[in-house]
Structure formats: C-alpha cells, structure tokens
C-alpha cells in the first residue's frame, strides 16, 4: 500500500498536519501505536464511570483563535470551547488572593488590592504592549521560527524595541522585580511565566513573558481535551485521509538518504511516495527509527543532547461530590468560581527554591499546586452535580537517590501530603467529598505517553537553547531533517509543547511548498 504522506504519531500536531495535507488533495495515512488518537489530548474515566479526566492537557489557550481551528473547520467537526469568566486564582498562605481576569481593567483592580503602583504599571504595560502582543504572538507561533538576527534587527531600530531586547534576556524573577513591587503580584505572574516549566531564575525566555503577563485566557474543550483529537480525526477522514490506531511503527524505511516508508513491529510495510512526517520525539525518531548510520554526525550529537530535564508534575485526578470551597473566598468570592486555583507560596523565592529542590531530585514538601476544576465550566465532564479536579504539584522525575524508581515507595505518602496541603486552603475537600482518586506520578506521565520523556509535558525542555530557531536544533527548525523526505511536526518543533497545533500547521506549510501542493489555506 502506498500513500503520499505517512504521519507517525497521532498527537494533535500530527493530526493537524495530516488534516492540511489531506485537504490539499494528498493521500494521507496517520499511524498511531496507542488504541486511541490524540497523544497528550487524552481524556479518560480513570476514577469512576462518567467522570472524564484530562490526563495531560486541560486548557487549549491558542486553539480556538488559531488558523488550525478555522482552516480545518473544527467547530463543524465537533470541537467546541467554553471560556471561563473567572480564569485563575492565585491564593497565598494567608488566604489573600488575586483572581486573574482577561479584561485589563478588572485585572488592574485586582492587582490594586495589593499595590496601586503595580496596578498602574500593569495598565501602562497593557496600553503599551498589548497590541504588539496581539499583532505578533499568533503570527509568530503559526509560522516557522525567525532567526534571532532578524528579530534583533527589527527590535534594535527603536528605543522601545531595544528595551524589549533587554527584557528578552532577563530571568522571570528579574523581569518581575523590574515591573512590580508587591510580593503577591510577583508570585501571581511568576506562576504564569513558569507555566511551561521555565525555571524562575533561568535567563532568556524572551518577550513571550510579556504575553503571559498581559494576556489571560483558558478555553476548555467541551467534553474534554480528547474531543480536539476526535475533531481533527474527523477533519482528516472527511478529506479522504486514513487514521489507523494500534499501529506500532518500528522503523522508517530508507533508500539511500531518502525516507520511503515505514515498517511496523509486525513486519508490515507501508510506502510513502512523497514523505514521512514524524510526530515522535527526536531521540526515538532519529536514533531508533532512522539509525545513526543515515545521519550526519553533528546532527546525531544534537539529537543525543536534546534534553528533557525540567520539572515534571505529580498529578491527582479526583472525582468530587462538590467543588472545592476555599478559605480565600471569604474575602474574594470569585476565587471559588475560578477555573483553576494556584497555590505557590508567598514569595517568588518559594518558587525559586522549589525549582532548585526539584533539580536536586527532592519532591517539594511545600505547596507548588495548581488545581483546575473543568466541570465548573463544562458540566459534561462529570455526572450531574458532580465534579472533577486535577491537582498538579511540581515534582522531579528522578527522586534522589533511587531515580524514577523512588516514586514507587513515595507515591501514596506524597499524594496524601499533597491532599493535606490543598485541604489547608480548601477545607471542604475532606475524604467523604473525594469519591475516587487516581494518582499519577511523573513516571506515569512518561508511561502514558513516551514522547513526554522524563515526564516533561512539553516534549523536551522549553529552554532558550531549545526554543524558537533552536527547536529542536539550530539549522533544523524548519520542520525538515537531514533525511530527504523526512519531516518533523511535533511539540519538539517550534513553537514547542502545549496544545496549539503550531508545529503541525507550520510543518504542513513547509511540506506543501516543497512538494508544490495547493496551499489552500493561504
């Protein structure tokens, strides 16, 4: 059997890429090892029947506004989003809180409870930079990454641009210290700046930090994250593409320096007349499926050095008889209505220390907690009147001194410890309200999806050496690879991990250009 394009891996980027190519008239095959599509868009009843738990991604910040949602007509294919009115709450140890709003005036009013000066600064930043963010952020995500020289050349033309270049080099902590005076305000925004695992004291996240300060959104996929994958699959099949699950690709077939198809674990071969597109992380793709002998040695070095060493998450999936009620709501009732509550200590140093503990392999004993409750805004994810919650605690993959094995003896105790921490903020979360709980430590994250190496949920660290023009590797961030006819499209490509389908969209554009396909979406 021959297809024009074979996509390995049905994570949402692979599905998006396949959708574009299928709609361009190509014969497309998506092969998925698991019995379901979607990769990290995974919703499953892991506690009790009727309780739908999102095992990895919960919020799809960029999807509803993305070209992918529009171009592939995902709404028509059953993908719908709800927008929580109250986005997130940061709750401090003294039970004061900041609720995050998408409207800048409401956000500034919330900040003003702690510092009038910080509220003014936020408003000024919003007035000065929100339009820049709006005009550039999505276009930069949904196009191949810019060389650093090009970005710098544009920004260094003006004083304001040069200021942004300076901010670009700073750590999140430095930037927040430059902008704000209140510890609470800094903690609130630091949570946003570290959301993709970027350490608070790491240099060079770039002006993406401004986006995270100024823009708040939390669209939830109705029915659970898996629905996005289902919608993408529907779009592919409506365009004549084929998606097969339970297909374990063992290797990529080579003819000379050209990828010409794939071979499954059972020996079945499928030919690709034009190209193979991998949605599988670099080490497995290039070292296992292709083989070093087909690759330039410097590329092999880059692949071997691709890293996923950042923080992971210790996760509790809960079936609840009622939603959490926080002590903080006594002074700020909107806290209980927030889609997600975040408890990260009282100062930014608490987060800095937590990241240092995690790097040393020590599970953090104080709260580094984020607790989304999707059912507050999408009741379809639980039986009537009931709720689901996911409790995330920042955690290391390797527990010193045993490594990943250390979680076996620690798992239950740590879960109880985390529940205790959470209960100190939300006292109604007593055992009688917890109908069932599934505990997933960082090793479970990798076991469920081995693209998330070391439980890093963004498919390789989002650090300056692996972002933008350097993701996955400098010189190969254009979705092509040194193997002719082998392309990359996953979260390990620009714009990185998270559910936005940018990698799939951008790879499809490059492939369409290389094979002179109809770029119907332009």
């Amino acid at each position: 059997m021959t297809y024009d394009f074979i996509i390995i891996g049905s994570g949402h980027n692979g599905l998006a890429c396949a959708g574009y190519l299928a709609k361009a008239g190509s014969k497309v095959l998506v092969l998925e090892r698991a019995p379901r599509v979607g990769g990290a868009c995974h919703t499953e009843e892991v506690t009790l029947p009727g309780f739908k738990h999102n095992l990895c991604s919960v919020v799809h910040t960029h999807i509803p506004l993305s070209p992918v949602y529009r171009d592939l007509e995902l709404e028509r294919h059953g993908v719908k989003y709800v927008y929580p009115e109250y986005l997130r709450s940061t709750i401090f140890p003294d039970h004061s809180s900041i609720v995050m709003y998408r409207e800048p005036e409401r956000m500034a009013a919330e900040i003003a409870k702690f510092s009038a000066r910080d509220a003014k600064t936020f408003t000024q930043l919003y007035n000065d930079y929100a339009e820049f963010i709006d005009s550039t952020y999505l276009p930069l995500m949904y196009s191949p990454p810019l060389p650093p020289s090009l970005q710098s050349a544009e920004l260094e033309k003006s004083e304001e641009g040069r200021t942004m270049l300076q901010w670009q080099t700073m750590t999140p902590v430095q930037l927040l210290n430059e902008f704000f005076e209140s510890d609470q305000v800094k903690v609130h925004f630091l949570v946003r700046l570290t959301v993709l695992g970027f350490a608070p004291d790491q240099f060079g996240q770039g002006w993406i930090q401004l986006f995270r300060i100024l823009k708040g959104e939390a669209p939830i996929c109705v029915g659970g994250s898996q629905q996005l994958a289902h919608g993408l699959r529907n779009a592919i099949e409506a365009a004549g593409g084929v998606v097969q699950t339970g297909m374990d690709v063992k290797r990529i077939l080579m003819r000379g320096n050209r990828a010409v198809g794939v071979e499954m674990k059972d020996g079945t071969r499928v030919e690709a007349a034009k190209a193979v597109i991998t949605n599988v992380e670099p080490k497995k793709t290039f070292l296992n499926m292709v083989g070093e002998e087909f690759l330039p040695s410097n590329f092999v070095t880059r692949v071997k050095n691709y890293h996923a060493r950042g923080r992971s998450l210790f996760t509790l999936h809960l079936a609840l008889s009622e939603p959490p009620k926080y002590r903080a709501a006594a002074t700020n009732p909107a806290v209980n209505l927030g889609f997600s509550q975040e408890m990260f200590g009282g100062t930014i140093q608490d987060q800095v220390r937590a990241y240092q503990e995690i790097a040393a392999g020590r599970p953090v004993r104080n709260e580094m907690l984020q607790v989304p409750v999707p059912t507050l805004y999408d009741p379809s994810q639980a039986p009537a009147g009931k709720h689901t919650a996911v409790v995330w605690q920042f955690a290391p993959f390797n527990v010193a001194p045993e490594g990943p094995e250390g979680w076996k003896k620690l798992k239950q105790e740590y879960a109880e410890h985390i529940m205790g921490l959470w209960r100190s903020y939300a006292p109604n979360m007593t055992p009688d309200k917890i109908l069932a709980m599934a505990i997933h430590d960082p090793t479970d994250t990798e076991r469920e999806n081995d693209n998330l190496v070391n439980g890093v949920d963004v498919v390789g660290d989002m650090t300056p050496d692996q972002m933008g023009y350097f993701r996955p590797f400098a010189g190969w961030s254009n979705y092509r690879s040194p193997v002719d006819g082998l392309y990359m499209c996953g979260g390990f490509t620009h714009p990185g991990g998270g559910v936005h389908a940018g990698g799939g969209h951008n790879a499809a554009g490059v492939i369409a250009e290389d094979f002179k396909l109809n770029k119907w979406w332009e």
């Binding site: 007035n127 339009e131 820049f132 709006d134 930069l140 949904y142 196009s143 090009l150 641009g161 942004m164």
Partner: protein, 176 residues
C-alpha cells in the same frame, strides 16, 4: 493579504489633483507615518514609514515605483520593503466640480515576517486608508468621505462589476 478600497471625492479638478498625487513630495504629506522621503527619479522614491504597534515602532524602508500611468485618469504603483509588497491603484474620475478618487491598496507580507506584516496591516489598513482620504480631502476641501473595507465601487458596466467582484473575491482580507 490585506486589501482595502476607498472611494471619496475631493474639491479639485482631475488635472490639479493629478499634479498633486503625481508629485512624491506632496503625496507623502497625505500618507500616514511617512518619516522621510528621497525622490530618486520621476517615477521612483524611497520612503521611510513608521507604523507603531502599541509603543513599538515598525520601521519600513520602502522603494515606491510608478509602474504605469494614464494622466490624469489613473496610475498603478508598487512599493517594496524588506518584508512586504504593496500595490496601489488610483483612479480619478471627474465628479461635478471635483474629482472622485478610487484607491485600492493591496499589502502582502513577504518572507519570514509575512505573518506579522499581514496581521498588522489587517488591523491598520482600514484606519490608514481613511486617514489618507481625510488628509487629501482636507488639503483640497472635503466632499462626503467614504472609506470602507473592500467597498463596492459606484455603478459601472456589468463586465467591470463582474471583474471587480472576482478580484475582490480572490483577494479577500485574511484575519491572521
């Protein structure tokens, strides 16, 4: 690719208006954001245009060239910068004591900044087109301004209407 049309009438006969728009120095007084102009020859000029995105300026060095002209009825010009190309069509029609101008701007981002350029001009094109019309009308005296996004032209022949509709359809503005 952002595309905008503006139809408006100014209080000057076609010959006078033609002389004004055909002179780069005077025309640039009506183009928003022009910081600098250097006339290269009768048909070519180099402009520096600043477009602010919030407080962050985007500075464009454009080379504008008149590709064809039919004095005093119309001209077609192309302006190119490192990351964009702009096509400009201007048609002049006598209208009572004044002149009706139909201006069509097609802006297309190019290369690695295509997405940003298209996004920016999509947001700004309507406003800037209206500013151009306002300034020109202020210069000569206004007659009922009308600047709209992809506005339908005044009644004209069936074939012309069909041709314009097809052009408009294939060059619809994008939202990203």
């Amino acid at each position: 690719m952002p595309r905008r049309e503006a139809t408006f009438t100014v209080n000057a006969p076609p010959g006078e208006l033609w002389k004004f728009i055909r002179d780069f120095e005077s025309l640039c007084t009506c183009i928003p954001g022009v910081q600098k102009i250097k006339v290269v020859d009768d048909k070519t000029a180099e402009l520096t245009v600043k477009e602010k995105i919030g407080v962050v300026p985007m500075i464009l060095d454009l080379r504008a060239q008149i590709e064809s002209e039919d004095p005093p009825h119309g001209l077609h010009a192309i302006a190119k910068a490192q990351h964009l190309m702009m096509e400009i069509d201007v048609t002049l029609r006598p209208n009572g004591s004044g002149t009706e101008l139909l201006t069509v701007f097609d802006v297309k981002g190019e290369g690695q900044l295509k997405g940003i350029v298209d996004s920016l001009f999509e947001k700004r094109a309507t406003e800037r087109t209206a500013q151009f019309a306002d300034t020109l009308q202020s210069h000569f005296g206004a007659v009922a301004p009308a600047a709209t996004e992809a506005q339908a032209p005044k009644p004209e022949g069936l074939l012309n209407r069909l041709w314009r509709r097809l052009r408009g359809w294939f060059a619809r503005p994008r939202s990203d």
